[in-house]
């Protein structure tokens, strides 16, 4: 026990040393993780499961305490981090594509992505476009040709607000397929993916847009047919049967990543420590187990590139939102 602990510490220290070449930072005492939602949501899961694995890997000295701070779709926690926690190098905040979407659309008033440090991603849930088993659409292309003829011919149901991530996934795919008049495509927003799927299966709405983990129950029962998953490659395991949009000739990718940001004004070596810690966590067997049992898919930009990825995603969402007239 002692030996393995020492080795890990040395390894972590070595990583930090090679990366920064300066004084090694080590967290001392309590580390906090803010989940910007009520207990039970995705961000809450990110904090708690990452906290557990960080403890197991002994990348943190004691425990990681999860704090729930719901409000404004993560805006309350973002404002708290920006205004009250500057320079706190023992604070992680859970984030996802929902965070970048809101940042891109200016829904955190007066705040932008540069006001925090983006640390890394630990996996993703990929977008899907699905229909009920009785639907006439057999593949993504037939659905898209229908949209090309009349953008109001297929109505989509999803779990996010109008202009939210579930809505944007439809637009990303439709745009890649060459559909014109994107704002005309009807999107019906529900409280969550489950409610939206029930309406699609009940035959009240034509197609479902959401994440792959949401569809698993109805996928197994055979009530739902997933036309395409919006990932670069086919997903592992049982989901390998589902074709990607790319292989159907529609270049659309929609990862809902899960990751972290930290407050601004922290030392460079402290930031590097956490970037490396997330790298080590992502590579560990313990984390692979967590991903497998929770349906989380591989997604991990190389260390240092995450910040650039976040900015790119925000730019993309911004231009798409402008195109559909959601923001000016």
């Amino acid at each position: 026990m002692f030996a393995s602990k020492t080795i890990r510490w040395v390894a972590a220290a070595a990583l930090a040393l090679t990366a920064s070449g300066a004084m090694a930072f080590e967290p001392a005492g309590k580390v906090e993780c803010i989940a910007p939602s009520d207990p039970g949501g995705g961000w809450d899961f990110t904090c708690r499961s990452v906290g557990n694995v960080l403890e197991e890997l002994e990348l943190v000295p004691a425990s990681v305490q999860t704090i729930n701070m719901a409000g404004a779709g993560g805006g309350v926690a973002f404002a708290h981090t920006v205004s009250k926690r500057k320079g706190d190098d023992q604070l992680l905040v859970a984030a996802s594509t929902a965070t970048t979407t809101r940042l891109a659309q200016g829904q955190f008033p007066g705040m932008d992505a540069d006001m925090v440090n983006w640390i890394g991603a630990v996996g993703a849930d990929y977008g899907v476009i699905a229909v009920s088993k009785d639907s006439p659409y057999q593949d993504l292309n037939s659905l898209m040709s229908a949209l090309k003829e009349d953008p109001r011919s297929v109505k989509f149901a999803g779990g996010s607000a109008n202009g939210g991530w579930d809505h944007l996934k439809v637009l990303i795919a439709a745009k890649a397929a060459g559909v014109e008049n994107l704002p005309r495509i009807p999107y019906l927003s529900y409280n969550n993916g489950g409610e939206a799927m029930t309406q699609v299966i009940g035959g009240h709405v034509d197609a479902f847009t959401g994440d792959i983990t949401e569809t698993q129950g109805f996928l197994e029962s055979g009530d739902l047919r997933v036309l395409a998953v919006l990932s670069d490659e086919r997903l592992p395991g049982d989901l390998a049967d589902i074709p990607t949009a790319k292989e159907q000739g529609i270049d659309a990718v929609g990862p809902n990543w899960r990751g972290f940001y930290m407050p601004s004004d922290i030392d460079e070596d402290a930031k590097q420590y956490w970037v490396d810690a997330v790298d080590e966590l992502y590579a560990s067997d313990q984390w692979k187990k967590v991903m497998k049992s929770n349906g989380l898919m591989p997604f991990h930009p190389d260390s240092g590139e995450f910040q650039a990825f976040v900015k790119q995603q925000i730019n993309d969402i911004q231009s798409l939102s402008k195109e559909i007239g959601l923001i000016q």
């Binding site: 404002a79 109001r152 109505k155 019906l188 409610e195």
Partner: protein
């Protein structure tokens, strides 16, 4: 068969030691809350919601505890009806009629035991009804599109006041207040903010839980303070129990009738437990006829309303679990709890959260046995607690409410918000504006709006989609009946209830 499989799964959840413990705790606290005059089941559940969050309970455990409180409150309501002639909650009013005379004849223990057995039977029958009906209704719910849901919400609002409701204008006003509060926050259909004034905390709208705990629990505290948190009541003596098997058997047919009738009254939106107990009492009086001595301490007059109101309380869970439309104030509070735990009631819940739903249903069965055991030998304990001065209860409730709300979001904003709701609730109650419609407006308003707009989106703006299916036409008809019936039948029913009460008083 599938139902049996799920039910056994449910028992697996309900019989876990932790869940059993919280069910027992919920039963005990629930009976207590029911017994305290004025503190109804909706308030009771609202007060305990923060406790569930403070303890960091798992969703199924939290829900099991709160349904146990709900069931317990229905049992407890009869205690003060029988001993003090003051109903612990509204549905227990009919129990006064024969329960108090029995107590005055020195048969208080018998009256308490009979009412406990009747409560048990009513609950048991209705829970079996729930097990049989809920999965059927859940599958049926798939046929509900936006137009049908919209009609269903209109129905829920139309029957809001209930058939026995006193002042329809005030009920309507209360519902409107709820609807107004519900418009705050992001508008899902367009993605724009409404009435948020740049305050980040308002972006997701007003949290139901904060509104409920404020309106019910905090306003209750203010009332306690106003009444000087005075001394407890005098001790009441309960005679030793002498109940023969023959007597228990003689009330069985009454309880079976009461349970079934109560269940039906509970399933219907807007009817609820008060009507359940009233109908069963009146019917029982008709059936027994001249052989009975109703109003003068007939055991059947205690058994009928008790089985009726307990049956109705389980019945009210059916529309809440399957369609997400609560049939009563307490089920509305339970619905808010579900929503804040990220669980959406409806057909999906019966498969995706099977362990939770069936765990709660199984816990209702288990809790029912617990309540019977608690309520016969331990009835003396509850009688003693009835005489504890409220000044000892007050600080406990205050602490639980504040710690609980803070532990949900770690935001002082929410605490101020809760206090504001408490003061608003106090003022509304002073004006005799009912609080339950406020909560229903807040809960159902956004859903109703969303479904109307979805229907319009699907039909490309054609209003006739709203009455485009047989199901929605049926729902509209029931809504119209629900709106008209109270005006016609309400005054008659109310006069009869009043007359029945005065005859005893």
């Amino acid at each position: 068969m599938e139902t049996l499989h799920y039910l056994s799964l449910g028992f697996g959840v309900a019989l876990q030691p932790e869940n059993l413990m919280f069910a027992l705790m919920g039963c005990f606290i629930g009976t207590l809350i029911g017994a305290l005059p004025g503190l109804g089941p909706a308030n009771g559940v609202a007060i305990l919601i923060p406790l569930a969050f403070t303890l960091g309970l798992k969703p199924e455990t939290a829900l099991i505890m709160l349904t146990a409180v709900y069931a317990g409150a229905m049992y407890g309501g009869r205690i003060s009806s029988i001993l003090l002639n003051i109903p612990g909650d509204e549905p227990a009013m009919m129990t006064c009629l024969d329960g108090y005379p029995m107590a005055r004849q020195g048969k208080a223990a018998e009256a308490l035991a009979i009412s406990a057995i009747a409560s048990f039977m009513g609950s048991l029958i209705a829970t079996i009804g729930l097990i049989l009906l809920a999965p059927l209704l859940a599958r049926f719910a798939l046929t509900f599109g936006p137009a049908e849901y919209f009609a269903l919400f209109v129905l829920a609002f139309a029957t809001l006041g209930g058939i026995t409701g006193k002042n329809p204008m005030k009920t309507l006003m209360a519902a409107a207040i709820g609807l107004i509060i519900a418009t705050v926050g992001i508008d899902l259909s367009t993605g724009t903010q409404r009435y948020t004034f740049g305050v980040l905390e308002l972006y997701e709208g007003v949290d139901f839980i904060i509104a409920i705990v404020g309106l019910f629990a905090v306003s209750e505290l203010l009332f306690f303070i106003e009444e000087k948190a005075g001394a407890g009541r005098e001790m009441i003596k309960v005679n030793p129990l002498k109940l023969k098997w023959r007597e228990i058997l003689s009330i069985m047919p009454t309880t079976v009738r009461g349970g079934i009738l109560g269940f039906i009254a509970g399933v219907l939106p807007g009817a609820g437990a008060s009507l359940g107990s009233f109908i069963t009492y009146t019917l029982e009086k008709k059936i027994v006829g001249k052989k009975g001595y109703f109003g003068e301490g007939d055991p059947r007059g205690v058994a009928a309303p008790e089985s009726g109101n307990n049956g109705a309380s389980s019945g009210a869970l059916v529309p809440m679990l399957t369609l997400g439309v609560p049939g009563s104030g307490t089920t509305a509070v339970l619905l808010a709890m579900l929503v804040s735990l990220n669980i959406t009631p409806g057909p999906l819940m019966f498969t995706q959260n099977a362990d939770l739903v069936w765990g709660v249903i199984a816990a209702l069965l288990v809790g029912n046995f617990m309540l019977l055991l608690l309520n016969i030998p331990l009835v003396g304990v509850f009688v003693k607690i009835l005489s504890v001065p409220p000044m000892y209860l007050l600080p406990i409730v205050t602490m639980v409410a504040f710690v609980g709300i803070y532990s949900i979001s770690h935001s002082t904003f929410d605490l101020y918000f809760m206090i504001a709701f408490g003061v608003a609730g106090y003022i509304l109650r002073k004006l005799e504006i009912p609080l339950v419609p406020v909560i229903l407006g807040l809960l159902l308003g956004p859903e109703m709006e969303k479904n109307l707009r979805h229907a319009m989106q699907i039909s490309d703006g054609d209003w006739s989609i709203l009455w485009g299916s047989g199901l929605s036409i049926g729902l509209w008809l029931v809504a119209i009946i629900g709106l008209v019936l109270p005006v016609v039948v309400g005054p008659i029913l109310r006069r009869r209830m009043q007359a029945a009460k005065e005859k005893v008083g």
